[in-house]
């Protein structure tokens, strides 16, 4: 597919955000760092899915982003509860 200039810029931004968040996941010294970076990445990926839907010119892909955004929150909250578990 061929992208317009704006779409190419958005693609580069999404890729850069993914890369930076992933570097934090690999480097992060403690587990909470890594969990927070996973949460950040899930938000970025929700945006990336919407962008991909725009590039492909098909509104069907927005449903995937909807489901992803709704469920990534629940998953991250469960992991956060598991971390907090020891202190309560």
């Amino acid at each position: 597919m061929t992208l317009t200039v704006l779409e190419q810029i958005s693609a580069i931004l999404v890729g850069l955000a993914l890369l930076l968040g992933f570097i934090r996941l690999l480097l992060g010294p403690t587990a909470p760092d890594r969990v927070v970076s996973a949460d950040t990445l899930s938000v970025i990926v929700t945006a990336a899915l919407v962008a991909v839907g725009a590039w492909l010119g098909n509104a069907l892909y927005l449903d995937v982003a909807l489901v992803y955004g709704a469920l990534a929150f629940v998953g991250i909250v469960a992991v956060a509860r598991a971390i907090e578990g020891g202190h309560s």
């Binding site: 690999l26 990445l41 899930s42 990534a72 998953g75 020891g86």
Partner: protein, 94 residues
């Protein structure tokens, strides 16, 4: 477009190696969710929205829920290392 696909696949492989190498179990669960996160975007780019949605719902939501709950249940939620010091030294890294 192929570079975004390459970035996602590289992320996926690096996160998969991180799952086996990271010492903390919760960090490993976070890396597993990153693997299925990148995989669901790859599925969207491969024109498989149904599979991508299933992977997003199951991999990002349900699988993290189940893994986090069983970590809590197992008492392996410690922030630093593992519960048993002798396992933390040599048993965790695969």
């Amino acid at each position: 477009m192929i570079w975004l696909l390459g970035l996602l696949i590289g992320m996926m492989l690096a996160a998969a190696i991180a799952v086996l190498v990271l010492e903390n179990h919760i960090a490993a669960v976070a890396a597993t969710s990153i693997v299925s996160l990148a995989l669901s975007v790859v599925f969207v780019l491969l024109r498989a929205p149904d599979v991508a949605m299933t992977e997003a719902a199951v991999g990002a939501g349900l699988s993290s829920l189940i893994l986090a709950l069983s970590l809590r249940r197992l008492g392996l939620w410690q922030i630093e290392g593992d519960k048993h010091p002798e396992i933390a030294k040599e048993g965790v890294d695969a």
